[in-house]
Amino acid sequence: MREPATLVGPAKTRFKALKARPMVYRFPVIAQSPNRQSAATAAVYWGSTATVELYPFNQDYLLRLRARSAETEAHFVEYFNTLLKAKLRSDGYSEAPLSDIRQETLYRVLKAIYLDKIQNPQSLRSFVYGVCERVEWEYDRGEWRQGRDENDEFPNITDERTTADGPARQAELLQTVRWVLERLPEKDRKILIALFMDEKERDEICREFGITRDNLRVLLHRALASARKLLSKGAAS
């Protein structure tokens, strides 16, 4: 997920350019791929990442957001959608509140940016998390108050991926998870499926399968490592 320093033309043109390139999608292995541009020098949208990099937000980025650059807004939304989903999942929110909190957070952050309230662009990630925790706090206490003004013009903050290769990489990730699960011993596969289903408490899953929390952690660690290895080889495509 990279954001351009300058716009690279209308969406149609970029889509054609994308079509001309092979659609081999790989998740990044940090600092291992020689073809991978560093975030600091990145200037293309079609960087083949689904995960979030340590993007160097700077003053220009904020200026482009304030100027309502569609490209920059799309990057901002996609970048923080992924990040906030990870955070809110970890905080234990289910799909519906997660989506509400995420949208409200992005709305408030964009509003603060438009009002020029952010002075330090390097701390944008921390700022977004701070706002998110505030929104979570309000949500948990039933003090929910959406600050959206009907007259405000905000980018469409949806859960859908905005990049054209989103479906392809999503399909690849699904295939990878399927591949990883199919190669696990039956017991481990059942444990991970129970974990994915998210219908039972972690302790209940451990009790049911006669494992410890450490075992569960190691199992997830290995599954992630397998998926990462597979994706780095591009074998899932």
């Binding site: 940090i30 992924t82 970890s90 998390y129 399927r178 569960l216 952690r217």
Partner: protein, 232 residues
């Protein structure tokens, strides 16, 4: 308020990513880790990758769950529980006992019977000697013996002038060879003899055929016939 900080080494050592994704951290630990990974490329990538992995897993979990529920077990998976059951203490003991009883029964029925037979052959027994004289064209000679007798048959004939291998065949009534044995007859001998436990034969008509086995493969047959009858 962030009171605790975490460095990358701590995050790795404590499996912070997995604990974060599994919601095992306290609020303070979570904040410390978030503070760290928002500035750490490796951990940021690990957390978001892990979260997307779990999301993808959530999408395919119902399908995978259904598939594993209806999955047909392989022949190994089906065979293993059946066989592994044999090695559990109680079935293993029962199986061993069964083998033991089977062995004892076999010993009693078959081996013992054969031993008895061998022993009976080694016992002293009456020996009945009968002389068959060359080709029998008329009535066959009637031989009467008991079942436990040793039947010795001597066949009278004139061998050739040189040492020649012979073969004696004992044929049953339907000309089926019951016994066949090689013989070595010297030129000065005028008969050959062989013996057999009478119990090995059934009552009935028999022929004894003496064949000379020469180099050309041709043979001259000398037949004697007898009828075996048992007196007991």
């Amino acid at each position: 308020m962030r009171t605790h900080s975490m460095n990358h080494q701590q995050a790795v050592n404590e499996h912070a990513t997995e604990r974060y994704l599994l919601r095992e951290m306290t609020a303070e630990e979570r904040r410390a880790f978030e503070e760290h990974y928002l500035d750490c490329a490796d951990c940021l990538e690990a957390v978001t990758f892990g979260a997307e992995f779990l999301d993808a897993g959530r999408q395919i979990a119902p399908e995978m769950s259904a598939r594993s529920a209806v999955r047909v077990p392989s022949w190994r998976e089906r065979l293993l529980p059946a066989v592994s059951g044999w090695f559990r203490p109680v079935p293993a003991l029962a199986f061993a006992l069964l083998l033991c009883f089977g062995g004892i029964a076999y010993q009693a029925n078959t081996i013992h019977h054969q031993q008895k037979k061998i022993a009976s052959l080694q016992d002293l027994r009456p020996d009945f000697r009968f002389l068959l004289t060359g080709e029998t064209r008329g009535e066959a000679r009637i031989i009467r013996v008991t079942h436990n007798a040793q039947l010795s048959i001597e066949v009278e004939f004139t061998p050739g002038s040189e040492y020649t291998p012979y073969r004696a065949d004992l044929l049953s009534a339907n000309d089926k060879v019951k016994y066949s044995m090689p013989l070595s007859v010297a030129p000065n001998e005028d008969s050959i003899s062989f013996s057999i436990p009478a119990a090995q034969l059934d009552a009935g008509n028999y022929s004894v055929i003496i064949r000379r086995e020469n180099k050309a493969g041709a043979s001259k047959d000398l037949a004697s016939k007898f009828v075996l009858q048992f007196t007991d």
